[in-house]
C-alpha cells in the first residue's frame, strides 16, 4: 500500500538571521544571491526496534535553477546517522558511505530502497507505524530542511 505522507519542512535559514542584523545594503546583496528552493516529499522510515538499524527514504526536489549539495543527514533519533548507497557488484551487495550529493537545479534526488538511503544506527527508541522519525538535511549553501518521516511497516 502506497501511503502519501505529509512532510513538514522548515527552513532553518542562518543566512536570513544574519542579514536581519547587518542592515539593508547587505540584505539587498544577500537577497540578490540565487538560492536553491528545496523541498522533501514522501519521506518514510522503516519500522525498527530500539537499538536497531533503520533507513529513511524520501524525494528531494529542487524547483529552482540554482544547484546545491546535500552534505549531511542528522537525527536525534539514533546514536549515529549518515548517507549510504547500496550497490550491487556482480552477485554481491555492498554499501558505501556518501559524503556529499549534488542537487542540480530543476531536478530531484530519490532516496529509495536498494539505492541511496539515510542510515540510522542504534535507534534510541523503537518506532512503529504511526510514529514519525525527524531527520535534518543539511546543504553546502547553509540551508537545512527538517523532515518528519512517517514510519511504515516492513
Amino acid at each position: 500500500m502506497k501511503r502519501s505522507l505529509k512532510t513538514c519542512v522548515a527552513f532553518a535559514s542562518v543566512a536570513s538571521l544574519v542579514t536581519a542584523c547587518i542592515g539593508p545594503a547587505a540584505e539587498q546583496a544577500r537577497a540578490a544571491e540565487p538560492r536553491a528552493e528545496l523541498s522533501v516529499h514522501d519521506a518514510w522510515a522503516r519500522t525498527a526496534d530500539s537499538g536497531a538499524t533503520t533507513a529513511v527514504y524520501f524525494t528531494l526536489v529542487n524547483t529552482s535553477a540554482t544547484p546545491d549539495t546535500l552534505t549531511a543527514i542528522t537525527t536525534a533519533e539514533a546514536e549515529e546517522s549518515g548517507m549510504h548507497m547500496s550497490m550491487q557488484q556482480g552477485t554481491m551487495m555492498r554499501m558505501a558511505a556518501v559524503r556529499a550529493l549534488p542537487v542540480p537545479g530543476k531536478d530531484s534526488l530519490h532516496f529509495a530502497p536498494l539505492g541511496a538511503h539515510a542510515m540510522l544506527m542504534r535507534m534510541r527508541r523503537a518506532v512503529v507505524p504511526g510514529d514519525t522519525v525527524a531527520v535534518t538535511l543539511s546543504f553546502s549553501s547553509g540551508q537545512a530542511l527538517e523532515v518528519r518521516a512517517g514510519v511504515r511497516a516492513r
Binding site: 550491487q88 552477485t91 554481491m92
Partner: protein
Amino acid sequence: MDPPAAAPPLSATRADGATTTLADAKGEVVALYFGYTHCPDVCPTTMADWARAKRALGADTVRVRFIFVSVDPGRDTPEIVQAYARQFDAAFTGLVTTDAQLALLRRDWGMPVYPEGDPRTRDYTVAHPAHTYVVDREGRTRLMIPPGTRGEEIAQDLRRLR
C-alpha cells in the same frame, strides 16, 4: 539455472543453539537469504518482499521454508536473527553462522562475504550476496532471485517448484 546442480552444503546455528544444515530441509523448497540484521536497506527490503510472497502463496506455502542466514557472527546471535526474521513473518526462520560456519560458507558457496569499515566498531557494514537462492525439494539450487523482485513474482517462482 540449467542444469540444476546440488546446492553446496550449508551449516548454521539455530536460536536453540543446535546446528542445522540445508540437508535437514530436504523435501521442502527453501528460499535462502544471506544478510545481517544491521543491514538497513537491502535485507529488510528483501524480507518485506518475501513476506508479500508468502501472503501471495497462501496455502501453497506449506512446502516452502524461508530462511534468513546472518553472515555477521560478530554482532548477530541466533536469538537476534530469529527475532529479526519473525518480525517480517512469524513462520520465517533466522539462523546465524559461527565464524567456522561462515568460513565454510565462503568456501563452499564461493561467496566473498566480508566486513567493510572497522569491525572493531559497532558500525561496520557487510558485503553479502544480493540474491535470494531457491533450493528445490531435491536439494538442488534452482533459482537466484535478484533483489527488488516483487513479492508476487517471487511467489510465482516458488509455486513452480513447490
